[in-house]
């Protein structure tokens, strides 16, 4: 497999503030990557750098093996949809979809119309007049129908309701299977999207904390639940990253792999053991530790 994106020692400073700090990673072709991190962690800046909308302070970026800046071969294969995307004031939904078609070689007009229908987008309405959720849907339709070899979604579903979000996950998966491409998705809704993600990049304060297969990340911790006293007994000597108590019951998230031995130890105390959610682990990695 060849790399769609490779980044070495990438750094971006805005005055005294370092938004992206010596980040190195590679994205393999035709996979779905999740870019996770808290607000202001540097996700959007990183995406702007990959698409040459911002210039790096230091480091090297290769997209499809080439420098992306002013490189038509590279840029014409990228579609970048962001939460705060600006559209011309006079553009209606239909204008945005038509214009997106001018710029993307793989643009599928019929598919775009079908998507617009599914998201209930009013084609004749001006973008300015759309609700937050429908505004996001425009970006999602552009991102999906462009079928760009590198598609970057930055918080694509801000303001979308649960139905629309689930529709997005479903459509993304279906279309990805039919037309494989490299997808980089940044999101706050980690649990919702986690089934989609094959690989996770986690950044915090501009630094890359994690660059791992999603399954491997999930395997890093597990949760046990049951009587509080028993959970406490089980947790003694183990690394607890999260503790929830409700009356006499408690659940604890613990670092380590959920192997047979651990399962047996939990069962012996009458506790239920299960893999921890990706979100809890991410919250732990970016929240508590950095406090």
């Amino acid at each position: 497999m060849s790399a769609a994106v490779s980044v070495k020692g990438l750094t971006k400073r805005f005055g005294g503030f370092t938004a992206v700090d010596r980040v190195s990673f590679a994205l393999q072709e035709n996979r779905i990557y999740g870019l996770l991190g808290r607000n202001g962690a540097g996700k959007t800046t990183l995406m702007h750098l990959l698409t040459a909308q911002l210039f790096p302070t230091d480091g090297e970026i290769r997209v499809f093996g080439e420098e992306p800046y002013e490189n038509s071969r590279v840029l014409s294969r990228i579609c970048f949809v962001k939460e705060s995307q600006k559209y011309p004031d006079n553009f209606r939904v239909a204008d945005v979809l038509a214009a997106a078609g001018y710029f993307h070689e793989n643009w599928d007009r019929e598919y775009a119309m079908e998507l617009a229908e599914q998201f209930r987008l009013p084609l004749k309405r001006r973008i300015k007049k759309l609700s937050r959720g429908l505004f996001s849907a425009v970006g999602v339709v552009v991102g999906l129908a462009s079928r760009a070899p590198l598609t970057i979604f930055d918080e694509p579903y801000a303001g979308m309701d649960a139905v629309a979000r689930n529709l997005f996950y479903k459509l993304l998966m279906e279309d990805f299977v039919a037309h494989p491409r490299t997808i980089l998705l940044s999101t706050h809704l980690i649990d919702e999207a986690s089934a989609l993600l094959e690989h996770v990049l986690l950044i915090d304060r501009g630094r890359l904390l994690l660059d791992e297969e999603a399954d491997a990340v999930r395997g890093r911790a597990y949760a046990v639940a049951g009587m509080a006293s028993k959970v406490r007994e089980f947790a003694a000597g183990r690394r607890v990253i999260h503790w929830d108590a409700f009356g006499a019951l408690a659940s604890a998230s613990i670092i380590g792999s959920l192997d047979e031995e651990t399962k047996a130890a939990a069962a012996a105390l009458g506790l239920e053991a299960a893999p921890v959610s990706l979100q809890q682990l991410i919250v732990h990695l970016t929240g508590e530790k950095s406090e």
Binding site: Q53, L54, S76, F80, K86, N90, A98, A100, F103
Partner: protein, 230 residues
């Protein structure tokens, strides 16, 4: 080339900005002057400067186009170069027929005896002189001058932010004061007046020097946009 054309097509989707609004402004201004003209005493002559509204609109349009479309185009994977060329092409595509319409109206104004109203709107002394084709060229160069002047301002803002814009206007202000001061000290206003009277008989003679500025604006804004970020 194909990408440049795509940018052009993107701009052309915004017919309000590129077609309806400028001509609504121009024709509304004309209509107001026609109404005034109707109530004019028969021996009065009305010289209107209403046409300047179109040029002001196009100047502002040059400032606003990038704010409207640059971030969108970049998100769609457009090169800065293609964005700039496509935008410049759109400005030319607007100016060529618009200047022709202005020249046509100027001709009509003459033919109809100033619309039978003694109204001078499209055919003004000094501004619209010489054959129709020359008037068309002068209008074209003026339209391009104001648009790319606006685009340069947009480019400075995109590339250098508010500070850059402040420095630019500071320099402009300084020149606006320094040049008359220099004439006061080293030259003579009378000599300058004589030179003008000798060489400049109409806007036609000014259009070419303005076009040199237009080319400078074009080059400068291209270099600025090449390094602009969203």
């Amino acid at each position: 080339m194909r990408k440049t054309l795509s940018v052009l097509k993107m701009h052309w989707r915004d017919k309000w900005s590129w077609l309806y609004i400028p001509w609504i402004i121009c024709l509304a201004s004309f209509l107001v002057n026609v109404i005034i003209g109707v109530f004019l005493p028969s021996d009065g002559e009305l010289y209107s400067g209403g046409l300047v509204a179109l040029f002001i609109y196009f100047f502002v349009s040059g400032i606003l186009t990038p704010a409207q479309t640059f971030p969108f185009a970049l998100g769609m994977g457009v090169r800065r170069k293609d964005y700039f060329l496509g935008t410049a092409a759109m400005a030319v595509a607007f100016s060529v027929p618009s200047a022709a319409v202005l020249a046509l109206f100027s001709w009509l104004e003459q033919r109809t005896g100033n619309w039978g109203l003694n109204l001078h709107f499209f055919h003004l002394p000094f501004v619209h002189e010489g054959p129709v084709l020359l008037q068309w060229l002068t209008m074209l160069l003026l339209l391009l001058f104001v648009y790319f002047g606006g685009l340069l301002i947009a480019g400075i803002y995109r590339r250098c932010g508010k500070v850059g814009l402040l420095v630019f206007f500071g320099c402009l202000l300084f020149m606006a004061m320094a040049v008359p001061a220099a004439v006061n000290i080293w030259g003579s206003w009378a000599g300058f007046g004589q030179w003008l009277a000798k060489h400049v008989h109409s806007m036609n003679e000014l259009a070419l020097p303005l076009f040199v500025f237009t080319l400078i604006f074009l080059l400068a804004s291209y270099l600025l946009f090449r390094r602009a970020t969203v």
